[in-house]
């Protein structure tokens, strides 16, 4: 084979995961450096973790590269803190002090702040994705996101308001719409990703999940009612210490049970939705294929939860890597792509960090 010519004009893409080693040690080093720098190192710590996780993703055996820097995240955060969070905080404080927390004006002001932040959240999500894509490189070619963050934020905002008004029934449509906006704005080099999907097929499974969750809520309601009822019927029992403890445990158990059942149902829906979205995502003639399962998602969620609790949050990088691994190992790319004709687009990348997302504590994976 003549090694100087590009690979055959179309190549298949093999997505694999090579688990990073030394993440536990890295977690400890990062923790110590964060403590020693009053937390300011966290932006660089996060960047190093991302470099490890990106490098674990292999496309045809070659790693993705994360080219973001801690400085970018830090500057982005400072800007958001100085221009959005701190002024909003001072303004709220001023209004509360001058007009009193109970006054109509203060409540109106706080409601307005919440709405503004709900809108900003959409912008934050979009910009964080844009930042990460522009800092993701494979074989020297960068990703990018080229649409309007305002358009995304607006859709995110008004469909979000409709969630309670539609009792949740807008969720499949909303997710599809937002996914479509995001993916259709995504590029690798000078080639776009495309996403074409109708939300309708999602509704069958969503209806089952919705009814199941309604039943779980009803069950929790009945159990809580029972606990309260028992105490009303036998008021003298309430006096003892043991009785109180038992009551507290019963309430806790009810909530834990309800949450667990909800998590199972929700994972069952989310696995389906993710696979559906993957199946409708295309790049230069290649199709994505998802094989996520409810069982897999629950297993990852439960084990990650235990790792987080057991390590008091110290092993967050391990948790991030495990989530990424599950996702990468359950996404495949079918078909072929003319890699030699994919070149770097004209955009120059962006310079700012993902400040808003950072400030909202939103993160990758």
């Amino acid at each position: 084979m003549d090694a100087t010519t590009p690979e055959s004009s179309r190549s298949s893409l093999n997505l694999t995961w090579l688990h990073p080693i030394g993440l536990i040690g890295l977690s400890l080093v990062n923790f110590l450096l964060k403590v020693g720098t009053l937390g300011l190192y966290s932006f660089w710590a996060k960047t190093e973790v991302r470099k490890r996780i990106w490098s674990a993703v292999r496309l045809n055996g070659e790693p993705l590269t994360y080219t973001g820097t801690g400085k970018e995240l830090f500057v982005g955060f400072l800007m958001i803190f100085g221009m959005v969070l701190f002024p909003a905080f001072l303004l709220t404080l001023g209004v509360l002090i001058m007009f009193g927390p109970e006054s109509g004006l203060s409540m109106l002001f706080q409601a307005a702040i919440y709405l503004v932040f709900a809108f900003l959240w959409g912008i934050a999500l979009y910009r964080a994705q844009r930042y990460r894509l522009s800092r993701t490189v494979w074989r020297g070619i960068r990703g990018s996101l080229t649409g309007s963050d305002m358009a995304y934020a607006w859709t995110f905002f008004w469909t979000g308001i409709l969630i309670p008004l539609t009792l949740g029934w807008i969720i499949p449509w909303r997710s599809t719409k937002l996914q479509s906006m995001m993916v259709n704005d995504t590029w690798f080099g000078d080639r776009p990703f495309t996403f074409q999907a109708d939300a309708k097929p999602l509704y069958k499974r969503f209806a089952v999940a919705w009814i199941a969750i309604a039943m779980i809520a009803a069950l929790a309601f009945v159990l809580l009612g029972g606990i309260i009822g028992l105490n009303v019927i036998n008021p003298e029992l309430e006096q003892t210490q043991n009785r109180r403890l038992l009551n507290a445990l019963a309430v806790l158990f009810t909530f834990a049970l309800a949450y667990l059942l909800y998590a199972i149902v929700s994972a069952w829906y989310r696995a389906h939705q993710t696979n559906y979205f993957a199946g409708h995502t295309h790049f230069e003639g290649a199709n994505f294929r998802g094989s996520l399962t409810a069982r897999g998602l629950i297993w990852i969620a439960v084990t990650n939860f235990l790792i987080m609790v057991g390590s008091v949050g110290l092993l967050a990088p391990v948790v991030m890597a495990r989530s990424a691994r599950y996702f990468v190992e359950n996404i495949a790319i079918d078909g072929t792509v003319p890699l030699a004709s994919v070149s770097q687009g004209a955009d120059q990348g962006m310079t700012r960090g993902e400040g808003l997302a950072q400030a909202f504590d939103f993160d990758a994976f």
Binding site: T4, L40, F86, R139
Partner: protein, 377 residues
């Protein structure tokens, strides 16, 4: 042609950054840098070690290396060989994980050290930026702040308004205000509340509770407590505390990367109104000066705090009972007593006439016997 034919040959993938295609390559670690042999080139490309960057920091556990070169942007070299990566980590130490970490963390370690030094200096020199900022607040803001604090702390406890009692309290307030120079206008109220409590809020507002008055055995004791709270007000301790809490909250938020979520919780801010021992000592010193100027005996101050903190006291001598949380950070009683004893005695008159004292005890139109049930804040 090769600078050192002895060096080991590694297989690699090379991308020129012009497209997403990649090519087979052979690389060596030479003393000039990484030499990359491509089949369509006669001369190997040389990437000097000092201008290399790796996708992730290299160390002795690395299993591969993905390299970029400063002077050939976009081009990448991927060598899936642990031996290569580990040797490169030695040859180009700027790419090692620990070097990168130190480079990034060092400035902030200096920042942290600087913060520690500044804090130490401020503590030693007794500087308080919070107090300086508190002093800059306009009166209007301080009064508004005080009103909010007062409302949030006395919810459900109406102000007592029996006219004779209010008049008696006003006379006592006027007496002590005059002793303070008369420049500061204090607004003192009694609220209908069982709890034994007294506090100053921003804007020179002072709240005494019915429980506190019921607990006092003489008007001198009330005068002592009032003078103490006026001391807090004169020194702007409530304002200073609020500014400090706001500042610390913002700093904490900054450190946590915005994840603390404490910003915006004004209720929490207003609740954090306990004073440092230093502040209590200052308030005591002012109280003693005011009492002397108003020819009121300082014994009441001592006796009242002593009695109140003795009841239900925990075994630790410095830990007052939980019931009296507002008094919890007051200096130990013996410290206050020493301060009082150090003062030369002076002729004193009762703080209030017997008639006024009775009126004050009746200000809430309730029986004066203290309730046995104590509520907590």
């Amino acid at each position: 042609m090769h600078s050192d034919p002895q060096t080991q040959l590694y297989f690699a993938r090379f991308s020129d950054g012009k497209s997403a295609a990649s090519f087979d390559a052979k690389v060596r670690l030479t003393d000039r840098g990484v030499a990359i042999e491509l089949l369509d080139r006669h001369e190997p490309l040389i990437w000097p070690y000092g201008a290399l960057s790796s996708a992730e920091p290299l160390n002795q556990k690395s299993i591969d290396a993905l390299l970029t070169y400063k002077h050939q942007p976009g081009a990448t070299l991927f060598v899936a060989d642990a031996g290569f990566a580990r040797k490169l980590a030695v040859a180009a130490p700027q790419m090692s994980a620990s070097a990168l970490r130190w480079r990034h963390a060092t400035p902030f370690i200096w920042v942290a050290a600087g913060v520690a030094v500044i804090s130490a200096v401020m503590w030693i020199a007794n500087l308080s930026p919070s107090r300086a900022i508190a002093g800059l607040l306009p009166d209007k803001v301080r009064i508004a702040l005080g009103k909010q604090t007062l409302e949030s702390m006395t919810t459900g406890h109406p102000v007592c308004k029996a006219s004779k009692g209010v008049a008696a309290l006003d006379r006592l307030t006027a007496k002590l205000s005059k002793a303070a120079g008369g420049k500061t206008k204090f607004n003192v109220v009694v609220v209908d509340w069982n709890l034994v409590n007294a506090f100053a809020t921003p804007g020179e507002q002072i709240v005494l509770t019915r429980g506190l008055i019921a607990k006092a055995t003489s008007s001198d004791e009330i005068a002592g407590v009032l003078a103490h709270e006026m001391g807090h007000g004169i020194e702007m301790h409530p304002e200073t505390n609020l500014v400090r809490v706001i500042g610390l909250t913002a700093a904490l938020e900054l450190m946590m990367g915005g994840a603390g979520g404490t910003i915006g919780n004004i209720g929490l801010l207003l609740a954090q109104l306990s004073y440092s021992r230093e502040a209590e000592r200052e308030a005591d010193a002012i109280a003693l000066a005011l009492l002397k100027e108003a020819t009121i005996s300082p014994k009441g101050l001592d006796e009242f705090f002593d009695r109140v903190s003795e009841k239900g006291r925990a075994p630790e001598p410095d830990k007052p009972a939980r019931d009296f949380s507002v008094f919890s950070s007051h200096p130990p009683t013996n410290e206050r007593r020493k301060m009082i004893e150090a003062q030369p005695p002076y002729p004193a008159t009762p703080a209030l006439s017997a008639e006024d004292w009775d009126a004050l005890r009746d200000v809430c139109n309730k029986p004066v016997a203290p309730d046995t049930k104590q509520r907590e804040i």
